[in-house]
């Protein structure tokens, strides 16, 4: 079975950002020359998330507000995880909700996302 692996690196400003990675993954698909398969796209850390949704700024803001309400960052003093010296228990939980990975069908060499 043919396989292809590539690491993509992203630098972001601030504690959280939305990065549109679909074009980068599409380039990987071209490089791989795979026509029919599955592509797994996952974060290599446990606080970022890879997910599929509308790349629309207003929706990103809605996600930001919703996630912060769902798993609030402050006060860090309430988090047991802080004993490790980290202050990002909320980021671990937000990542859990948004998902670490996506699996997408590759059809005729392209993401098979639908319309």
């Amino acid at each position: 079975m043919k396989s292809y692996r590539k690491e993509l690196w992203f630098d972001i400003k601030g504690r959280r950002a939305f990065v549109h990675i679909t074009p980068a993954v599409q380039t990987c698909l071209k490089e791989s020359a795979v026509r029919e398969s599955l592509v797994l796209v996952n974060a290599m850390h446990i606080t970022p998330s890879v997910f599929i949704n509308d790349d629309e700024h207003g929706l990103h803001q809605d996600h930001e507000v919703w996630l912060e309400k769902l798993a609030t960052h402050a006060p860090v003093s309430h988090c047991h995880h802080k004993r490790t010296g980290e202050d990002n228990a909320d980021a671990h939980i937000k990542c859990q909700v948004m998902g670490r990975e996506v699996v997408v069908a590759v059809t005729d060499g392209k993401h098979d996302f639908g319309p």
Copy 2:
């Protein structure tokens, strides 16, 4: 590597419904003649969800109540996404929680779901 792809279309009434698609996917597995593999079942839009759980009406009602509390539809005026003319930011978020896709093992030509 052998692959098989099929689109399933569903019409639902109202803004949200639970559709039991396992029999339809099972039919696809038979058609594919695949014996040992993985099947990816994903929504082709970004507001529906594909997930695995008990097909029990009471549980569906519990999910409805819980999802509406978690990401309320009204008032739409609070959503940034509405600037696009859409009123479904909550549906995008509900989909995120419930999951866009499932990956299931195929063993001896059948879903390997467990009991």
Copy 3:
């Protein structure tokens, strides 16, 4: 295509526990002799969850507190699912949030998790 399937069984005390299964899955990978592929690790029931995150006790406590707030067990009388004689609608919902399955790349015979 080569495939490998193994069932892992776990007994836990109480209604909920965190079990670190990575070493057990790693042993499966060795037994399979697969070098480059995808491994699917999923729960065979619909209330447990398989997820990838920091195996850190404080973070587990944070997850416990957060999950109980998000989908409270009591009072069971509020749940429609209880008509089936079950009192675990909250566990179905918690499982939905935490995720039933993970798909991980296998590279050179090992989980490709990142640092």
